[in-house]
């Protein structure tokens, strides 16, 4: 066991994968000399040189498009969008090209690329640098979607993403980079596509991912002090979605809450809640509670920013009311 940050685990995953697989190149703004806006690729250029740590101009549509072409011709690019908020510029290359190429071309070829990016609130960065846009990705067939919440998963999910035949959107959370955990990265990991049960209880199921897992775990701890025991499921990947694990727990317990940072309407929380409801209807004592971002842009004001996404208190209160009702 070593103590490691989420940032360093990501870095180690990239480093090891690049050492093993010569075809991996990193393509993005400030990924090389600068070492990444959040330091994830720091110093990798010293090992792999500028040919593999490719600093690009500020050209988001182009970056993703270049990665698509590279992936089709034998490389395994890690493209980076500095903020997921820039997805709107790249969505054509991602959703119309990367996601559809295998299908449109009748299975002739795939696009084995990883699009690394980060999202979420926490830095007073305002409406254009704080979004959680995984909903757009989850709604796009052909794209895998990984959202690690823990240090170990930052490592394992990224390593695994770099072996997959199809494009993976890999979304980190900006507020997690400095998070430290004791990890043994050589211990066997959960398989790709499998959700992790981070805590077991009999009163309530909380389904979540990415940074909201931290809040959910803290809320679950507070709930336990009040005699409410929650199961907390960390989805790890949204595509594939491990519904079996959700089903098992919801059918066992009968009460569920889903927690996402992205805005409520037509987002991931809606998918999770409706899927749970349609598949576990007869087991549900209560409607699934959706806890998600408010349907507003994110303000720069730290107070407004924090209030516009779920936090520990809200999760705890909703959990308590779900169970006590």
């Amino acid at each position: 066991m070593v103590s490691m940050t989420y940032r360093d685990a990501l870095r180690r995953a990239i480093d090891e994968a690049m050492a093993e697989d010569d075809d991996i190149v990193v393509i993005g703004e400030e990924v090389g000399r600068y070492g990444g806006a959040y330091g994830v690729t720091k110093d990798l250029i010293k090992t792999y040189g500028p040919e593999r740590m490719i600093d690009t101009p500020i050209s988001e549509p182009g970056i993703v498009g270049v990665a698509v072409g590279a992936a089709m011709t034998g490389l395994r690019p890690i493209a980076e969008l500095m903020y997921i908020d820039f997805l709107g510029m790249s969505m054509d290359q991602l959703a119309n090209q990367a996601a559809k190429i295998r299908y449109m071309f009748g299975g002739q070829i795939g696009v084995p690329m990883v699009l690394r990016t980060q999202g979420g609130t926490g830095r007073s960065a305002g409406a254009q640098h704080s979004q959680s846009l995984e909903g757009w990705i989850m709604h796009t067939p052909g794209l895998r979607l990984a959202m690690p919440a823990t240090v170990a998963d930052a490592y394992h999910l990224l390593r695994h993403s770099l072996t997959l035949p199809d494009p993976v959107v890999f979304i980190e959370h900006k507020a997690l980079y400095a998070q430290k955990e004791e990890v043994d990265l050589d211990a066997p990991a959960l398989p790709w596509g499998k959700a992790a049960i981070r805590r077991r209880g009999d009163d309530l199921v909380i389904v979540t991912y990415s940074r909201q897992l931290r809040f959910a775990m803290e809320a679950a701890g507070q709930l336990a002090e009040r005699g409410v025991e929650a199961t907390v499921i960390d989805l790890r990947t949204l595509n594939p979605l491990d519904f079996d694990t959700i089903r098992m727990e919801v059918e066992r317990i009968g009460k569920a809450m889903v927690v996402c940072e992205g805005v409520l309407t037509a987002g991931v929380a809606a998918e999770l809640a409706s899927r749970i409801t349609e598949e576990c209807f007869d087991f549900l004592e209560q409607p699934v509670a959706r806890v998600a971002g408010e349907d507003v842009p994110i303000a720069v004001s730290p107070a407004l920013e924090a209030a516009s996404v779920p936090g520990v208190d809200l999760i705890r209160d909703v959990g308590e009311r779900l169970v006590r009702w």
Binding site: G62, V66, G69, T73, D92, G106, E279
Partner: protein, 360 residues
């Protein structure tokens, strides 16, 4: 990649003979003519397929009038080269050696097509021939060649990647991002703009003030040129130096001017341009120009050419027959190839609903 096509590698001469294509300038014309004639005939058959109601939809964009760009540029590409095309890419793909049968079947949305009926005319591709895909997004296929150029450079493949697109795409920002990166990284990449004067109903001078298209490439540091697409040999010669220099790491740009003989797609009767203009435009016929020159330079006789044209016509008729009688894809194939083989397929809605509706 194993390739079979009619590029530099030679193979058969156009007049039906065998052996290496002759090396000197003039005698490449028969090959080029044959390529162009095949394109022309193929496109005419695509029109017929549509009229017979056998095409998948009407979004069929014919490259009649643009054959010299396809033939001239593909002639200087090598086996290992790759390319992407726009939505009007049949001719390029044929010039690269595609099988008309499988193309026509794809255009008809059939199982035996290049993409098993999923891609159609606008999303046809073939990795064997280095065809990284046609694209229905104007400009959408352009950055991929920069990625292919990166691969080629890194893997020392000595291959060039060529993006073919129309004049309309000159107004898409992604072209400039792509050219800039290609220049910055000294990539073996060529950008080819087939300037047929129109983007749908918009004449090039209604889309931009800057109609000397290659000047934009120069401003980004590329090796930029324009050429008239009437004379296929001129196109080929111009393309050769550009492609060769690109292979050496100096990315290039070539605008080939020509005229789109017919409507934008099958439903378009081009009401936005005059008949006189069309008559004038169709005088810029690269197929006729090459044919006339073959005769005037005594590289081929009228009879031999007539025979060749007839053979090509039959080949293309056969492609229609093949496409029409080919099978539609099975419904089950709908869930295939969303993800790689071996990955679970998306669950069909009906199975989900069965489970939900028949629960417990």
């Amino acid at each position: 990649m194993s390739l079979k096509h009619t590029a530099d590698s030679g193979a058969t001469t156009p007049m039906g003979g065998s052996g290496q294509a002759p090396k000197d300038h003039n005698s490449a014309l028969p090959d080029l003519y044959r390529t162009m004639r095949r394109i022309r005939s193929f496109e005419e058959r695509v029109g017929e397929l549509f009229v017979r109601g056998e095409s998948a939809g009407s979004m069929l964009h014919l490259s009649i009038g643009e054959e010299a760009a396809a033939a001239g540029i593909c002639a200087v590409m090598k086996l290992q080269d790759t390319f992407t095309t726009h939505h009007r890419g049949h001719g390029i793909f044929l010039a690269r050696g595609a099988e008309p049968r499988r193309m026509m079947a794809e255009i008809a949305g059939k199982m035996d097509g290049y993409c098993h009926g999923k891609g159609g005319s606008m999303h046809i591709a073939d990795m064997q021939l280095g065809h990284l895909g046609a694209n229905a997004i104007v400009g959408g296929g352009i950055p991929a060649v920069v990625g292919a150029g990166l691969s080629a450079k890194r893997k020392k493949r000595d291959s060039v990647s060529v993006a073919f697109f129309g004049d309309g795409a000159m107004q898409q920002g992604i072209l400039y991002e792509s050219m800039n990166m290609a220049a910055l990284w000294d990539l073996p990449v060529v950008f080819v703009c087939i300037n047929n004067q129109y983007g749908m109903g918009t004449r090039i001078d209604q889309a931009t003030r800057a109609t000397n298209l290659h000047e934009r490439a120069l401003a980004f540091g590329l090796n930029g040129h324009s050429v008239d697409g009437l004379d296929v040999e001129e196109v080929r010669n111009r393309a050769r130096s550009i492609v060769d220099e690109a292979r050496g790491g100096r990315p290039g740009f070539l605008a080939v001017s020509c005229y789109r003989f017919y409507g934008h797609a099958r439903m378009d009767k081009s009401p936005y341009r005059s008949e006189e203009e069309e008559i004038e435009g169709r005088k810029k016929d690269p197929v006729k120009f090459a044919r006339d020159r073959l005769i005037s330079e005594k590289l081929a006789g009228e009879n031999a050419l007539g025979t060749l044209d007839g053979e090509i016509g039959k080949e293309m008729d056969d492609a229609i027959d093949f496409a029409v009688s080919a099978q539609a894809p099975s419904l089950g194939s709908m869930f295939r190839d969303v993800y790689a083989e071996g990955e679970p397929e998306p669950e069909p809605l009906k199975i989900r609903l069965d489970r939900v509706l028949a629960r417990n």
